[in-house]
Amino acid sequence: MSTVTIPRPSKPWGVNFKQAIPDVVAAFATLLITYAIVAYTPLKGKLAFVIVLFLVAVIASAAISGIRRDRKAALNSISTVMIYVAGMFVIFPLGSILYEIIRRGIGGLSLGMFSTDMAVTASDAPLSEGGLIHAVVGTFYIVIIASLISVPIGILTALYLTEIKGKAAGTIRFFVQAMSGIPSIVAGLFIYAVWMIALGNQYSAAAGAMALAILMIPTVARTSEEVLKLIPSDLREAGLAMGGTQWRTVAMIVIPAAQSGLITAVILGVARVAGETAPLLLTMGGADALNLNPFAGNSSAIPFYVWKNFLLGTETAIDRAWSGVLVLMIIVLFFFSLTRFLSGRKGRF
């Protein structure tokens, strides 16, 4: 009976210490060369450093691969460096945006912000005066009214595409896709033309909501369609096989089964339009005072509030604009996380 020793599992293709040494040395060398170039040539400054680093890294890795192996490997190294750079680059803007929003906006945040409006505040009044309650209320109104309009239409559209599957389904899908590309300002112009020019109404939160609804419908419709398509046709067949009418099968079986997905579709739509500015500029009037009537009279919303303060240009106005942006981002990120959370859950089953 011979004893067999079982070899230890190993990964011969993996990177071990010995093989990695040349690469580590090369990386250090790249940094050193870059420092040298920046120190001893006219190229100076952060930008120069970054660009030189990039170029040296590309050339160095190409050279090393080219010498060690061949031209193909050199090309591979160049592209690898560039692709890594592209990947890293994508992260920076977001980092900068979030950082700046918090840095510049947090100063203006206060609880008092949510209890006053800008009706009697001068454009250069200190941050302790004035607030954005009128904008918050306005955003609240337009989101609710826009949802009331777009959710039924969006879900009905999705139901048409998945339950009725009529002959026009392809056309409708095409038009929904087309609708999702409408520039937001065109939606605002349209509502202005219809609601205010043709029908003679004034600026109002409801008008803004109608413009937003146009932008929200495609999102709700498309996401709802995806969600409804996931419901296995078994369930529908079982309902129909028992003698249920189509509407009862849909209402009592399909929609409850899809309910968390449909809620996600709605919240996605809300997240999409909560921060829109351009259509509001044409339909809401931009009030400074709190207006509790969503159907008549100038109103404001958080993006509009930011916009107005930006245009005012004074230092405190700019601070207010940043605070408004911070509030807006908190709201948008809240909805965003909500959709992630809801679509991550499996629902009741």
Binding site: T157, L282, P303, V332
Partner: protein, 354 residues
């Protein structure tokens, strides 16, 4: 057939059982299929749906057609309102670059031409694509083929959050944070590459230029193009990829020979969708672009415009006549965006089907 050689006795079922006759071997009740030479005609299957179902179908169909209706109404109203302007200006509306709104007492005719704005829109769109496309495709390749697993999920999250950021945030950030840096970069570009006409500077005005607007738009459209490219790359057939590796390809040659040919159409479509989004952007462009009704090729100069930002610019003080011109401009923008999106989706769908 008989006889497997089994002999078994059956307890016969009760003779009174009404169905007893077929519990015995009476197969004549069940005629077997004979190959039919002439097939009977297909029946028309009709149902008489319940009233509630008819209502259901009507309601759902109405809701479903609403998107058609809305799109149609938008075209109708914008066109109707802008009709006079189109008629008076003719093709000059699109090509002319004078936007003159005379004071009423002057008694001069107004002139509306969005040519400069259309040009400006195209310019900033192209600049945005110029920066966004390589970065997006690179990032998509990074996520698909290079990134370690622990990095993928956070990066995808970052991209999705970026897609959710409202445009006014980009407007503010672009103006206050990016522009100072971009101004510096523009100065550098002018210093070293100023011999190229587009980088020339007739005046020392580097802020709020098409270059900066293009940069802001680029950052805004990177998430879209990246996401679509990633989806396309994910659909590349795995066996082709492995065949390339088996032939000794490096990662880059695999990408060049398999991924790009396969995904070319989809990525182009994604880029066009990004372009469509950039063209329709309003507030993000408004803050970082100075509107001047003139066509200039110098992209670093503080003069440019886009149709969308022009509409917002002029809306506040427009008289009814000018408003109609703005409606006409909106209609043109609407058509252009629709066209680009339609083309983009067409290309993407065609690639996806392969």
């Amino acid at each position: 057939m008989g006889g497997f050689g089994i002999n078994f006795t059956t307890r016969s079922p009760s003779r009174n059982h009404p169905s007893a006759h077929f519990l015995r071997g009476d197969s004549s009740i069940c005629p077997v299929s004979t190959a039919t030479s002439t097939l009977p005609p297909k029946r028309e299957i009709t149902t008489k749906p319940r009233f509630s179902d008819k209502v259901f179908r009507a309601v759902v169909t109405t809701g479903g057609f609403s998107s058609l209706v809305i799109l149609g109404l938008i075209s109708l109203f914008l066109l109707y309102n802008g009709l006079n302007v189109f008629r008076t200006e003719g093709l000059g509306f699109i090509t002319g670059f004078d936007w003159i709104v005379p004071l009423p007492e002057e008694g001069l005719p107004a002139q509306y031409g969005i040519g400069a704005m259309l040009y400006g829109t195209v310019v900033i769109g192209l600049i945005a694509l110029f920066f966004a496309f390589p970065i997006s495709v690179g990032a998509a390749l990074f996520l698909s083929y290079y990134a370690p697993d622990w990095l993928k999920k956070p990066m995808v999250l970052v991209i999705d959050v970026m897609a959710a950021i409202p445009s006014i945030v980009f407007g503010l950030w672009g103006f206050f944070v990016l522009m100072p840096h971009a101004e510096y970069w523009a100065k550098l570009i002018h210093k070293y590459l100023g011999f190229i006409p587009i980088f020339d500077m007739p005046a020392n005005a580097f802020t709020r230029s098409p270059f900066i607007a293009g940069l802001v738009l680029a950052i805004m459209i990177i998430p879209i193009i990246t996401s679509i490219s990633r989806e396309i790359f994910a659909q590349t057939p795995l066996d082709r990829i492995q065949a390339a590796y088996a032939l000794g390809a490096t990662k880059w040659s695999m990408i060049k020979s398999v991924v790009f040919p396969y995904g070319r159409g989809g990525v182009v479509g994604g880029a066009m969708l990004g372009l469509g989004r950039a063209i329709g952007e309003t507030v993000a462009v408004y803050t970082v672009l100075n509107i001047v009704f003139d066509i200039r090729i110098e992209v670093l100069l503080s003069a440019g415009g886009s149709v969308a930002s022009m509409i917002v610019n002029k809306f506040g003080e427009a008289n009814p006549d000018e408003l109609k011109a703005l409606m006409a401009s909106g209609f043109v923008l609407f058509l252009v965006t629709l066209l680009i999106n339609f083309l983009a989706n067409f290309i993407i769908n065609r690639t996806a089907r392969e």
